[in-house]
Symmetry: D2
């Protein structure tokens, strides 16, 4: 699947740094490396020990920040956020970090994930007179903290973290500390690094590489890390934890140069391709992958089968946000954007097309047809993950979950639907094995919810949309 | 080498269409697929049979055209252009198509290549009272036509085409015809296609694929093609021709999904990699290519040697024109942009790094260092073309020709300079063979000037900059 | 004094309309006519009976709204706001109407004036867990309403209006009603009008003229007016009222074509000029006024004295927000912006220069000097209001109150300071008489605070800045 | 008539400076003061003695220049231009100064006026192979110079100035000199001033006042002034001159603070009002002028008649280029822009409304109606110039000349058409006398063409549009 046409959309990437005189600039660079996790909005909040400043906007990191914006973000501690969001008139209010200024202090907050009980909490707080400034689920955490009954910020935070449920990798910034916290299942990745004397946290380790920081360790499920001028202090807000990191982070979301829990994403994908070759070999002339996220799996598949790996299609870069889409009439005449087949490679060939997942099936159908139009004799589709049958409530855009093709059709039916000569998905166990996380853990420590409906947290029926209730397989149920 | 950091820059891509009611829109899409040939400016001129309209601007095709701009470009014939240009206060005047409006008619003109005698012609015309509106060499053609003594436009055009020398793939548009013309050496690619009843010309065939057009044939060296409502008419402005297409089109410039003279670019590059494996094998653990243009050669090298191909480095997409560059201080601290190494892949490994060319050597040195910093045990550099020792006068930016590392140093010295464990360039004959053009022709029909100094046209000493004269090996000399 | 260089700045203008299918567009036009009351930001909120939409931005009304923005503001009830604000990184959050969306309903709020006890209320509410989204004093009203204990919105609103003190002309919009409310002193103007069947409220009647509406009556001090589909309903939130409208509205802020409490502003200003002629005649050749706000008084002064009124200086229009200011060096060489003297008029003449007020004195000094440089033989300054000696806490920017020249110097000293040949201010009683409001009321129903220090409401010492406490003459004290 | 709704539009203002280290910045300020002469485009060209740089754009001076643009315009000699132009896709090419760069030198050119034989010259030059880059008449001068047969630039310039005819105030800039030239009738104003050691030329003297320069003298009809490092040199390109400055410069175009030929524009307008009072008194209660250009005449009329001058209508400032116009429906409901009546002033009154001219009559009708709607009992219109009956070929936009109401109707008919109670125009002789130029000269040295059809230059029939030929009264010459 290629990034700009993602049918699955995750909500965010977060970054934080403490103890560097160029905190905002390094956050800017860090956000660049996380840009694939959200292209709709970006923001940075920074503290100089006395005052929290922030700058946010809609669009790419590049578009949001001008040099003078960064220059004005003076300080040595910062957090940043890139966001995927459904568009909307007022969406600037939802761009993070959310910043809450009171007469005495400022709290800034950035979140990757999704809180599954946010609406219930919000309803309760509004009935008590609270006013929310955004429609983001993230904001409830701030209100819970402010209404906390302890005299210390950290205790109120820990209490609040125990009230919210779902998936959350939080970074918080006040005038004098940076805080990172991860949900009890560790559903989203969050890593800790060092850059000289400074501490860094980021959704993905590629952000460390880009700024020259060194990976130290992952933030633990249930952990809250407080970093201030006195150093780093780790605490647990709960020890009832059960690691279940989102499988799709390996399969599709994260950048190939990131390591998640010690496993390189490109290597994991290549293994998925190798495993797929074992489970589903086929006689063919060339192997090709859908750019960008399926290239690694395609290389693995080719290596394992001995069929040559080729650039069977290439992506049209430069198709930006302001691109003028072809009309229906022109599309029917053959104008295509984003992906072009390489006729010289596929013409007359039996092609294995590797993709990382199938969501609605429309993209797959389009690509298969495009390869055939370019002269492919056969098109065999191999998917480096199991069929996605259940909605995600942990931060993946489920707006289209009713359209999950695998929740309605069998593999044979999907094969016919997308027009392939054959179609095989990777097995759930093959996937777990290929990624290679801890076999001693349940599901090897991976969240399998979208494949099996087994959700690691409780999902209240009201969270699910009506049509989704059938797809919901309750935890432990 | 990766596109956005090109050390070699070509000047343009051209596109033309005749006989389609959405001429401007299809040109817009066509220019998108040629965007890699020039990111500094873009323009479209269109005719409805009565009036020529145009719209041009600085930046990417995306940035230059808003929907209403395209809507206003009404007509059934159009030409378009994407441009690489050195920046400058007045550069909008140089964005093509150049449009010349007189009281009686309009001539629009787009050019890929470089005229080697433009300055001499211009000096002569200015002394006769002509005023030039741009600093572009292209404009001389219009003045030569306007001062022609024949009563027909075509005869004046043919006369003018015989006066200019160098590399040129021209498309011209008047109120009632589209014209394409190619220099006697065919130094730049130019292809002819059909889309239903409409005719299409483009610098690369990938533009045909994107709009659903069918490739018909290449424009011939010395040919001038006139397309109007009565159909297509071919003529030769000279038959003293000697095919010598720019080798770098195969090696680096063109898109992998384009075919040039019947040879697919990705396939040619993969062959270059295979040939390179034959000429320069090495014991190693992984093969990696510099994205984007060296990926194909790397795949070929891996396939031929059996060493696994891996994503040893990845490109940071989203680093746009407005990107805020890291300061020297931050760069020294390790902040890097554009390319990131994949530590999980290269750590502890012996890496073969494939690149398509070395110009100044600075990028190569940076990449080698980056791989070592990420833990590579050995870095063996293999280049899928011969050393570039001589300036190009045919449309490649020679501003840095004085800095051509291979014109000053031996291969061993370059190896040391870039810090590699070993360095091998492909041999000239190996390159010709791998690309696979007509062995019956001189140099297999390829221009070898930048490698050997053998220029297919006469280059007057004044064209060359002082420091370049030493590098100049005159034709037939 | 001329608008763009105001040394006194008021905070806002408000507008509201109910019952018109083009509610947002008419609000846009209404805000245009109130643009002189605030150029820093503008916004509109609109309801279609089900949903409240809003659009806001920094800059002039013109800059903030594009046609599509207005088109998206569908509905038949609307409020709007233009704002003066001190600039700042986050000031967009302060642009009004403030919009508060809860799960059940939406409240939108626009305010002209200043609440003198906002900080105390805010401190109290934050200690109870409320989070404020802006630094605007206006927001406290929304929180007070939301925490109200009644079951009806109106009762909670009335309670809240009794808690806040200071100057306030509020317009509020919910899904299904428009509300207007005025403080017990009526410190800011607020008028009610009709446009066909629709109701309109606005800070100034010029907004009615511009949209073709008819003036009905002024909103009364202490009144709250609720307008919904059932019509208009008037109520009082308090009857402890004492009219004391801001004198500066007549003297300087309001547009000359507005009527305030039945008195035309231009006519009032002309009367101030006539009165000034009576109190302070002088032998001279020409009378001139500082554009734009002092023209009317100058005409009155000329008419009463028989000295010809002339354009002694003219304003450079087109000096917009992005204007590049001359450097100190160029200013010293004589480059001047905003005002130009008309040499042909003032050269060799004895000039009476009428201005409406003196705040810091720097502008006056500059103008006197400019007239002398243009050849004026004598410059007699006449001010159509008394000396401003005390800070305003009711919505006028008091940031510079420490610099009020009249709080530190005598009239003679000021005359010397600004370099005039003579200087006379209008007397307080002359001012009251000339404006011509109700002589039966205390101070004729005008607020005299900035002239006399007699504040119509209680001002707590903490509201005043340290240096201002000396200037503060407490009410009834 | 008010500037932003001008029914007559002049084409330009020019500015030049030589010998000041901030040449570009001072030109920027100078253009500001000339902004009323053209709001559609602006540009500056500057020389540092070696290189001519330029920056141009569409829109107000404010919009066209950012600080960095000015910073890049390094040099001590500069020319600038503000332009009125009919909008059009390609109009940037017409924004002046036009800049012509050859291999040896650069010529930059700015023009106020209109050449009446440009089309004929252009046709001739194109037939000889010249290519024009703009559709501006100004460009012919450059081509004539370049094709000149003399060896000196100045002689070729003088020859060219003798070929073009019509109205022209030119400023030219080369690498090493600034040149100013005026047509033999001096139809457009052009003045010479000094700023320290630097020389300044400008269309109006208000530009001198703004930058602190001193007026020296007017450029003479037929004069060419060359300024370079050796000083100022004056020459005549012809002595067949007959002064005939455009009357409308006094009546309407120029700024009231400018002096033209030693006469202050405000004073001239006031005299026109006084003369109008003598010729056309009326019983009335108030005199009011249409802002901005008729205020001076209204003051004169009031002073002479003793009827009080009042602000009977005021202009809505802030109605900028991006203003969203009210729909027809809203206009019919009474929404008005630009001008508002002051009801408190005109209600129940007999109003004398002074305007400077009537072109199509539509604006006058609208204003009369607006005053009546605001309650005026009678509206007497007095125009401070004679009826405009003939098209202008000297730089005033004649696009609407077919619609000149006075060319088709008698004064009585116009009175009825605009709905006034009475209407009187000033007499031609009264106008000449009131402005007060040299009575010894023909028409007192004023161009009367638009009033009488007596054109000071030859107008070839082809210059006039078909419908205009009837209006053309050929120069008896």
């Amino acid at each position: 699947m290629f990034y700009e046409d993602r049918e699955l959309n995750e909500e965010c990437g977060v970054f934080g740094i403490w103890g560097h005189s160029h905190a905002a600039k390094l956050t800017y660079y860090g956000l660049h490396s996380l840009q694939h996790r959200g292209q709709e909005g970006a923001g940075i909040a920074v503290t100089d020990g006395k005052k929290v400043r922030d700058h946010k906007g809609l669009g790419l990191v590049n578009d949001v920040f001008a040099p003078k914006d960064l220059d004005e973000l003076v300080g040595y501690g910062a957090i940043g956020h890139v966001r995927y969001s459904t568009s909307g008139g007022n969406s600037l209010a939802n761009v993070q970090p959310l910043v809450f200024r009171s007469q005495t202090d400022t709290l800034s907050l950035a979140h990757n994930g999704n809180l599954t009980n946010a609406e219930e909490i919000k309803r309760d707080l509004e009935s008590k007179g609270s006013i929310f400034q955004s429609t983001s689920d993230t904001e409830v955490l701030a209100h819970l903290i402010k209404r906390g009954i302890s005299h210390t910020f950290k205790d109120n935070l820990k209490a609040a973290l125990n009230v919210v449920s779902g998936a959350f990798a939080f970074v918080l910034l006040t005038e004098n500390e940076l805080i990172a916290a991860l949900d009890p299942n560790g559903l989203r990745p969050l890593s800790l690094g060092r850059l000289g004397d400074a501490w860094v946290v980021a959704s993905e380790t590629c952000a460390f590489d880009l700024i020259g920081a060194t990976f130290i360790r992952n933030v633990k499920p249930g952990e809250v890390i407080v970093i201030n001028d006195e150093g780093l202090h780790s605490d647990m807000f709960t020890t009832e934890v059960e690691p279940a990191i989102c499988s799709m982070e390996y399969i599709y979301f994260s950048r190939p140069d990131s390591d998640i829990e010690g496993i390189n994403v490109h290597a994991a994908r290549k293994n998925l391709g190798i495993q797929l070759a074992k489970e589903a070999p086929v006689e063919a002339d060339v192997v090709t992958g859908v750019p960008d996220s399926s290239i690694s799996a395609a290389i693995g598949y080719a290596e394992a089968t001995g069929i040559p790996y080729e650039l069977g299609m290439i992506k049209n870069r430069y198709v930006g946000r302001t691109f003028i889409q072809p009309s229906q009439e022109l599309r029917e005449q053959g104008v295509k954007m984003k992906l072009s087949p390489v006729r010289g490679i596929v013409e007359g060939k039996r092609v294995v097309m590797i993709d990382d997942s199938i969501v609605r099936g429309t993209t797959s159908r389009r690509i298969v047809q495009m390869l055939r139009d370019a002269g492919a004799r056969e098109v065999h589709v191999r998917i480096s993950s199991p069929p996605i049958k259940h909605p995600c409530f942990y931060g993946i855009d489920t707006s289209s979950s009713s359209e999950l093709i695998a929740s309605k059709y069998s593999v044979d039916e999907i094969c016919e639907e997308i027009g392939a000569d054959s179609l095989v998905f990777l097995s759930p166990s093959g996937m777990q094995e290929a990624i290679g996380r801890n076999p001693a853990m349940k599901n090897c420590g991976q969240c399998m919810a979208c494949f099996t409906g087994e959700y690691p947290t409780h999902i209240s029926p009201e969270t699910a949309l009506p049509h989704e209730k059938d797809l919901l397989v309750s935890k432990g149920g």
